[in-house]
């Protein structure tokens, strides 16, 4: 990958932009205006506001960026994205940062390591069934990583959902699972880092 703006070797910001679909190169033009931070519903719980994180990215602080809990607290609501005056695809950049953090093995060090685990439990189910079974995903996630909260969940909200007939225990499977598996296997081979 060569940078079209300068002849320097790719830095953190270049790598992130290359791995993000859409007009991610707008990140070079971040004004540091803070509209993203002001619009973010989960901002107060983040280690760094999106604005701070972009300043850190621009400064090449790779380890600190990938260890930040910020991308994992992104609720994917796209508020920042529709408001950003520079049209930076912020939500997509957060997804890229999640993938890069997993790749770098940093997420295990993140205090809030529940998020990658949840995504992985979800993904395992989809890969093996073709469909997710929503609250079943939640239950499995808790049983696998947080058995105590699984008990709490099963006796509280879970029980109500079962009574209302809204909770599954067995996933529904698609018919042509081999086809989906072949597609995903090939996609993973081509995927590279992200």
């Amino acid at each position: 990958m060569t940078d079209t703006y300068t002849s320097r070797p790719p830095t953190l910001i270049d790598k992130i932009i290359a791995e993000t679909p859409g007009k991610a190169s707008n990140l070079y033009a971040c004004l540091q205006c803070g509209t993203c931070a002001g619009s973010c519903p989960s901002g107060p719980d983040m280690d760094h506001s999106p604005r701070s994180l972009f300043a850190m990215i621009d400064s090449g602080m790779e380890d600190q960026v990938l260890m930040s809990n910020t991308p994992w607290y992104c609720v994917s609501c796209y508020y920042c994205m529709v408001r950003c005056p520079q049209e930076i695809p912020i939500t997509d950049i957060m997804y890229t940062l999640k993938r890069m953090a997993i790749e770098a093995g940093h997420f295990k060090e993140i205090d809030k390591d529940k998020a990658p685990e949840f995504s992985e439990t979800f993904m395992d189910l989809v890969e093996n069934n073709g469909r997710s079974f929503e609250l079943g995903v939640v239950m499995r996630h808790h049983l696998r990583y947080h058995p105590i909260s699984a008990v709490k969940l099963a006796t509280g909200m879970g029980l109500k959902m079962i009574t209302k007939g809204r909770m599954d225990f067995t996933p529904s499977k698609i018919k042509n699972l081999p086809q989906l598996k072949a597609i995903l296997k090939k996609a993973k081979e081509l995927g590279g880092v992200a």
């Binding site: 679909p21 859409g22 007009k23 519903p41 989960s42 719980d45 994992w72 607290y73 609720v75 994917s76 609501c77 796209y78 508020y79 994205m81 529709v82 695809p89 997509d92 997804y95 890229t96 999640k98 993938r99 997993i102 809030k112 529940k114 998020a115 990658p116 949840f118 995504s119 992985e120 979800f122 993904m123 989809v126 079974f133 929503e134 609250l135 939640v138 996630h141 509280g156 909200m157 109500k160 959902m161 209302k164 809204r166 909770m167 599954d168 529904s172 698609i174 018919k175 042509n176 086809q179 989906l180 597609i183 995903l184 296997k185 090939k186 996609a187 993973k188 081509l190 995927g191 992200a194």
Partner: protein
Amino acid sequence: MKYGYYPGCSMEKNARSYHTSTLAVAKPLGIELIEIDDWNCCGATEYIAINKVPAYALVSRNLALAADQGDSKNLVAPCSACYLNLKKADHCLQENAELKEKVDISLDAGGLSYDPGSINVQHLLETLSVDIGLDAIKAQVKKPLHNLKVAPYYGCLVPRPGTMESFDDPEHPISMDKILAVLGATVVDFPLKAQCCGGHMTQISEDTALELIRRLLKNAADNEADLIATLCPMCQLNLDAYQDAVNSHFGTNFKIPIVYFTQLMGLAFNIPADELGFGKEIVSTKSALSKITDEAPKPKRSRERGKKNASLPMPIMAEEG
């Protein structure tokens, strides 16, 4: 009118009432929903966090199946996340040649192919408000929802598909407001109508999620809503199933039923409640629905300014010339 239909995983069990009410109201409106055969999960907001190319390939299999089965160019998704993922994948494949090439090779491994742009992904709200239109909906209203105060809740992903064009305003959407008004309901102000319900944060950081849910419930309660109408299985789940948790966490006492807007459409169309999936919600809708009356509420008189000359004092301008 024929439409491809992508229900999505939530509709199979958790949001079954959204599925049944969607089918029930589609019929009288002349919408023929043809389910895509053997569709798979869209990956929600999880798959893309792990691996990019497989995430897009996963969604593209659905687009390829929809195009192959060829029932309609239009594909309707009632779930916000499914809608966004399908629409976004189609959009990104058109914009990003490298991604498209990788997805093409992946689909080919399963004997499929997809030409981006050949499927028009719509959210159900878009189908109803744009394609079908308010007049056609109004024509089906047999039992208006008079005196029912509804807070229209859109959540994030339907009004705001990021950099793509949306059928409604990304921050102040009104298409569901208009439908609810046509049904005879009283649509209350709901300033947080397009704010986030917390999504999957209930599983990752419950405190973060509960605060987001609390804000929405409080905003609806402050505006005296009898219930909240939603268009997304995730929003319904968070606001309904976590309402108890919000109450015990914050010491509040919210009891606001959360229903799908299609369920309200069905009621107004005089379709029996049990065919619309009522009863599946955790917070009971009974007392809210009992507020519906046969008589329309008297229109509120516009705030009078009092007697004449009660307008704001204006500076007296010197006459020109």
